[in-house]
C-alpha cells in the first residue's frame, strides 16, 4: 500500500528542464534568477568530447558572456575552489553551471558556498555552522557518469563533507546533446545506483507519498530503459530517462536518509576502483531478502515499482515481494552478461572475508555512516561475499 500519512515534509527546490533543446533555455532561466554572466565548470574529458562547444552554442544570440573552466579533476580540493573563487570574482560572474556529474557538482557546490559568502564558509559549514547567506544560482547539466549525490544536499571536497539543503541545484537541464552515450559499465553503475536509491527510499520507514512518487518514477524509468540503453547506444530517449531517474531517485533519497546498501556501496568502492553502483547492484538483492523478513518496514507493493502495474496486478499478493527480488536479480544477471568486467560477487573485488568486519564496525572510518544494526550489515555483506550471481 502507498503511504496514507498526511504529516510529512518534502523538499525539492530544483526546476527541471528535460528534452530536445532544453539547453537553450539556460539564458532565459538565468535571467529569471537575475544572473547574466554564468561560469561553466566541466571536466577536461567532457570538454574534449565537445560538450563545451554545445554549451557555448546554447548561449548564441543571448548577448551573454560565459566563462568556461574545463579542468575539474576527479577529486577536487579546497585549493581548486580558492583558485576558482578568484577567477569568479575577478571576472564578475554571477551564476554557476555545472556541466557533468560527480566531481563537477561537488566543486560547483563548494564554489557556490565560497562565492556567495567567503571561502572560509566551507570550513564553517563542515564544522556544523549553517550557511547564513543565500547562495548564487546553480544549474546542473548532468550526464550518465554520476556519483549519486549531484542533486542532493551533499558534496565532498577532499576531506570536507558539506551538507546543506542550500546546496541543491536550482536548475537541472537534461538535454540529449549533453547526455552522450557512455561505456556500458558507466550506464550500468548509474542505473543500479539510482535503483538502489529508489528501492531504499521505497522501503524507508519514513517514506511519504512524495518520496514514493519519486521512487516509483525512478524505478519504472530504470527498469524500462537500462537494458535498451546498454544494448543500443543510440537510444537517446532511454539515456534521458536514466538521467531523469537519477534525479528522481536522488531527490527521494535526499528527503529520507541514505540507505544501508547505498552507504555500503560507497564504503566498499573507497577501497577498490569499482564504481559504487555496480557494488550496490550486488548488495541490493540480499538487502531485499532481509527486508522481506522484517514486518516493520516491509511493504507488499515493491513489485509495482520494480515490475510495473500490469505485472503487479497479475501477481498473487503472497509472492509479490519475492517476484520483486527475482526481477531485480534477473536484471542484474542480464547486466552482468552485457557489461565487461562486472563483478559476480564482492569477493571478486579483492575483499577478504575478514575485511568485512571493518565495514560493519559502527563509526569506523571504512564503515557506513548511518546507524544500522551491525547484524543486518554483517548478514548482507556475508551473503554478498558468499554468493556469486
Amino acid at each position: 500500500m502507498l503511504q496514507k500519512q498526511s504529516s510529512y515534509s518534502f523538499y525539492s527546490p530544483t526546476k527541471v528542464l528535460s528534452g530536445n533543446k532544453a539547453l537553450e533555455n539556460l539564458p532565459v532561466e538565468l535571467d529569471g534568477m537575475n544572473a547574466v554572466k554564468p561560469f561553466i565548470m566541466t571536466t577536461p574529458g567532457l570538454s574534449v568530447r565537445g560538450m563545451e562547444k554545445v554549451m557555448a552554442a546554447a548561449f548564441a544570440d543571448s548577448d551573454l558572456t560565459i566563462g568556461v573552466f574545463a579542468g575539474v579533476p576527479p577529486r577536487p580540493d579546497l585549493k581548486l575552489v580558492r583558485e576558482l573563487y578568484g577567477l569568479y570574482h575577478d571576472n564578475g560572474y554571477d551564476a554557476i553551471i555545472a556541466l557533468g556529474g560527480g566531481p563537477v557538482l561537488d566543486a560547483a557546490k563548494a564554489l557556490n558556498i565560497a562565492v556567495s559568502g567567503r571561502p572560509e564558509d566551507l570550513e564553517s559549514l563542515t564544522a556544523g555552522n549553517p550557511l547564513t547567506k543565500k547562495l548564487r544560482p546553480l544549474a546542473a547539466v548532468l550526464n550518465l557518469d554520476l556519483s549519486g549525490c549531484e542533486m542532493t544536499r551533499y558534496a565532498t571536497l577532499g576531506p570536507l563533507s558539506l551538507t546543506s539543503s542550500a546546496l541543491i541545484p536550482d536548475l537541472m537541464i537534461i538535454d540529449p546533446r549533453t547526455v552522450p552515450a557512455e561505456e556500458r559499465n558507466i550506464v550500468a553503475a548509474a542505473a543500479l545506483m539510482s535503483m538502489t536509491q529508489a528501492v531504499e527510499a521505497c522501503l524507508h520507514p519514513s517514506r511519504n507519498p512524495l518520496t514514493d512518487a519519486y521512487a516509483y518514477g525512478a524505478a519504472r524509468f530504470i527498469m524500462e530503459n537500462t537494458l535498451n540503453v546498454i544494448r543500443n547506444s543510440s537510444d537517446r530517449k532511454g539515456r534521458l530517462a536514466l538521467v531523469n531517474a537519477a534525479f528522481f531517485a536522488q531527490t527521494a533519497s535526499d528527503n529520507l536518509a541514505p540507505g544501508m546498501v547505498y552507504e555500503l556501496g560507497m564504503a566498499i568502492s573507497r577501497s577498490c576502483q569499482i564504481k559504487p553502483g555496480l557494488i550496490m547492484g550486488l548488495l541490493l538483492p540480499h538487502f531485499l531478502l532481509l527486508e522481506m523478513k522484517m514486518e516493520t518496514t516491509a511493504r507488499n507493493d515493491l513489485y509495482l515499482f520494480v515490475g510495473g502495474p500490469e505485472a503487479f496486478a497479475g501477481t498473487m499478493a503472497e509472492v509479490s515481494s519475492r517476484k520483486a527480488v527475482d526481477r531485480i536479480v534477473e536484471v542484474l544477471l542480464e547486466l552482468q552478461s552485457l557489461v565487461p568486467d562486472f563483478p559476480r560477487s564482492i569477493r571478486d573485488l579483492g575483499i577478504k572475508k575478514e575485511d568485512l568486519e571493518g565495514l560493519v564496525a559502527p563509526g569506523s572510518a571504512a564503515g557506513v555512516k548511518g546507524e544500522y544494526d551491525p547484524r543486518d550489515i554483517r548478514n548482507i555483506l556475508e551473503k554478498a561475499w558468499e554468493t556469486r550471481f
Binding site: 528542464l17 528534452g19 530536445n20 533543446k21 537553450e24 533555455n25 539564458p27 532565459v28 535571467d31 577536461p44 570538454s47 557555448a56 552554442a57 546554447a58 548561449f59 548564441a60 544570440d61 543571448s62 548577448d63 551573454l64 558572456t65 560565459i66 566563462g67 568556461v68 573552466f69 574545463a70 579542468g71 583558485e83 577567477l87 571576472n91
Partner: protein
C-alpha cells in the same frame, strides 16, 4: 589559469532570418485569414476592440504584431513593438524553440506543453490566438506538414480549403 577561457557566444543569423520571414508571413496571413475564414473571424470577434498581440522570440526578437483596429479589422502591425500597446505578449524562450515551431517539428500546442512559450496576458486570449495559429497553419501548409504542426487536422471540404488558401496567400503577399 589553465583550462579557463571567456567566450562571447556567436549568433545564428540564418535561423534568425528564417524565423523573421516566417513571422512576417504568418502575421500577414492571420490578417488575411480573419477576412476569409469564419472561425478565425469568430475568434477575433471574441477579443476586445483594439486588442493587439505579439509573437516573438526572446531575448531580442524577431517579433510579429497583429491587432484589431478601430473598425474591428485585423491588421498586421509590423515587427517593432516599441510605442505599441500590446495586450498579449507571446514569447518563444529561445531561437531554437522558434525554429522547432516554424519548421513544424513541433505544433504550437506541443511547444506550449513543452514550456517553450512565455505568455504575458490573459490566458483565454492566448488560447484563442493558438487556435487562430492552428487554422492559419492549415491554410498555409500542405496537409502532410500541417498535420505535424496542428493539434487536430480539420475536416474541411476540398473546395473550401483550396479557395480560402488562395485568398489567404494572396492577402498575405499583396496585403
Amino acid at each position: 589559469m589553465n583550462n579557463y577561457k571567456e567566450i562571447q557566444p556567436g549568433s545564428k543569423p540564418l535561423k534568425r532570418a528564417y524565423v523573421a520571414l516566417m513571422l512576417w508571413f504568418v502575421g500577414r496571413a492571420i490578417a488575411a485569414a480573419a477576412r476569409v475564414d469564419g472561425a478565425v473571424k469568430t475568434e477575433f470577434d471574441g477579443l476586445p476592440p483594439g486588442f493587439t498581440f505579439s509573437l516573438g522570440v526572446m531575448p531580442q526578437g524577431p517579433t510579429m504584431i497583429v491587432g484589431k483596429d478601430d473598425q474591428g479589422q485585423v491588421r498586421y502591425r509590423g515587427w517593432n513593438p516599441e510605442g505599441k500597446k500590446i495586450d498579449l505578449k507571446m514569447k518563444v524562450k529561445n531561437l531554437e524553440g522558434a525554429i522547432l515551431m516554424f519548421t513544424f517539428q513541433e505544433s504550437t500546442a506541443v511547444a506550449t506543453a513543452r514550456n517553450r512559450l512565455i505568455v504575458d496576458g490573459e490566458v483565454p486570449a492566448a488560447c484563442a490566438i493558438v487556435r487562430v495559429l492552428d487554422i492559419v497553419e492549415v491554410y498555409l501548409l500542405p496537409k502532410l506538414i500541417a498535420k505535424l504542426a496542428v493539434k487536430r487536422y480539420p475536416d474541411w471540404s476540398f473546395g473550401e480549403k483550396v479557395g480560402n488558401r488562395i485568398r489567404i496567400y494572396a492577402g498575405a503577399i499583396l496585403g
